[in-house]
Symmetry: D2
Subunit: 111 residues, 4 copies
C-alpha cells in the first residue's frame, strides 16, 4: 500500500493554488485538528446507537464521508511534508500497543 499517489494529488492541488508556503507542519496540524472537530461535531447529538446507523441518512452520510476525507487529506499532507511513512508508523504503534495492552491468551493457546 502506498499513500504516494494521494499525497502527490494533494501536493499538486496545493501548489497550483500557491498554498505551499502555508502548509508548514504547525499549520497542517491545526487544520487537521479543525477538521477532527468538524467530524466529531457530526456525532455530538447522536446516541451511540444512532451513530452506528448514521450512514443510512444520505445527508449525514455525505457530511461524515467529506469530513473524514478532510481529516485524511491533512494527515497525508502532514506526513508528506514531514516525510513520515504513515503505514510504517501505524505498524510500529500497534507493535508498541501489543506490549502496553497485552491481549488475553486465546483458549487454544492456553492449553
Amino acid at each position: 500500500m502506498s499513500m504516494a499517489p494521494l499525497q502527490q494529488l494533494l501536493a499538486e492541488f496545493a501548489d497550483r493554488r500557491g498554498w505551499g508556503p502555508y502548509h508548514v507542519p504547525k499549520n497542517l496540524a491545526m487544520a487537521l485538528a479543525g477538521e477532527a472537530g468538524e467530524l466529531v461535531a457530526e456525532f455530538q447529538w447522536l446516541t451511540p446507537e444512532e451513530s452506528a446507523r448514521v450512514m443510512r441518512d444520505p445527508e449525514a452520510a455525505d457530511a461524515v464521508r467529506m469530513e473524514m476525507a478532510d481529516v485524511f487529506s491533512y494527515l497525508l499532507r502532514l506526513a508528506d511534508v514531514l516525510d513520515v511513512d504513515l503505514e510504517r508508523a501505524l505498524r510500529e504503534k500497534v507493535a508498541r500497543n501489543e506490549y502496553r495492552f497485552p491481549a488475553p491468551q486465546s483458549p487454544t493457546l492456553e492449553r
Copy 2:
C-alpha cells in the same frame, strides 16, 4: 491502494481485547479528536519555522510519528466501522474542491 490490511490489523487488535463494543462511530470520532488534540499539542509552542524542522529532534520526531499513527488508526477504524472507502472519499472531496477553489490557469494553458 487498499487500507484493508491495516484495517484488519486494527480490528483484530481491538477484538482480541474485547474492545469491539466500544468502537461505535461516536466513540471513535471522539478518540480521533482526542488524538488530533495530542498531535496539535506537539506543535503548539513551536514557530512555523521550528515546526518544519521538528523531525531533526529524535524525541519530538518519535512523538509526532506516534501521534500521527494514533490519528490514522482511529480514522481507519471509523472508516471500517462505517464502511467508508477513504481513498474514494478523498478523491471525491478533491474533485469538489477543484470546483470550490478554481486554480489559476497555468501559463501553458493561457496561451
Copy 3:
C-alpha cells in the same frame, strides 16, 4: 462578573516563567484545542449514561475537573491577549442564537 482576577493570575504565572512570548493567539488557540482533546478523551469510552455519573469516581472526577481548568485557562489567556470580553461575547452569541433557533412560544405567551 469579572474574569480579570483570574486572567491576572494566569498572566503573572506565565510572565514569571518567561512564557509571555509564546502566548500569541495562534499558539493559545492550539493549546486550547489540545486541552479540549484531552477533555473529550476522558469521555470517549463512556456511555452517555456513564458520563452523567463520572463525578462519582474520584479519580475520573479529578481528571475531568483539571482538564476543564486547562481549557478555561487557555480560553481566559486568549481572551486576555485578544482583549475579548468573554461574558459580553457570550451574551451576544446567545442573542444571535435566539434569532437563529427561535424557541417555541411558551403557553402563557400563546394566549
Copy 4:
C-alpha cells in the same frame, strides 16, 4: 466572581428548546471539542504575528469572538451539568502547576 448567571442563561436557552436531554457530559465535551476546532481553524493559516493582529480585521474579529463564546458556552454548560466550580478548579490547577513548573526566584526575593 460567579458563573451562575451565565450558566442559568444557557440552561434556560437549552430548556426552552427541549435540548436538555442532549446535554449529557459526553455530548457537551464533544460539542466543546468541535467548537475548539472551529476556533483553531480561525488561526490556522495566519503567522503568529498575524494572529496577534487578528482583531484589527472586523470580520475575523467577529468570527474569533463568536467561536470563543461557543467554547465558553459549552464549558459553562459542562461545568453546570457536572457541578464543577470552574474558578475553584482553575485556582487548584494553577496551584498544582506552581509545583510542577517552579518559577525562577525574583531578584527581590533572592536578596
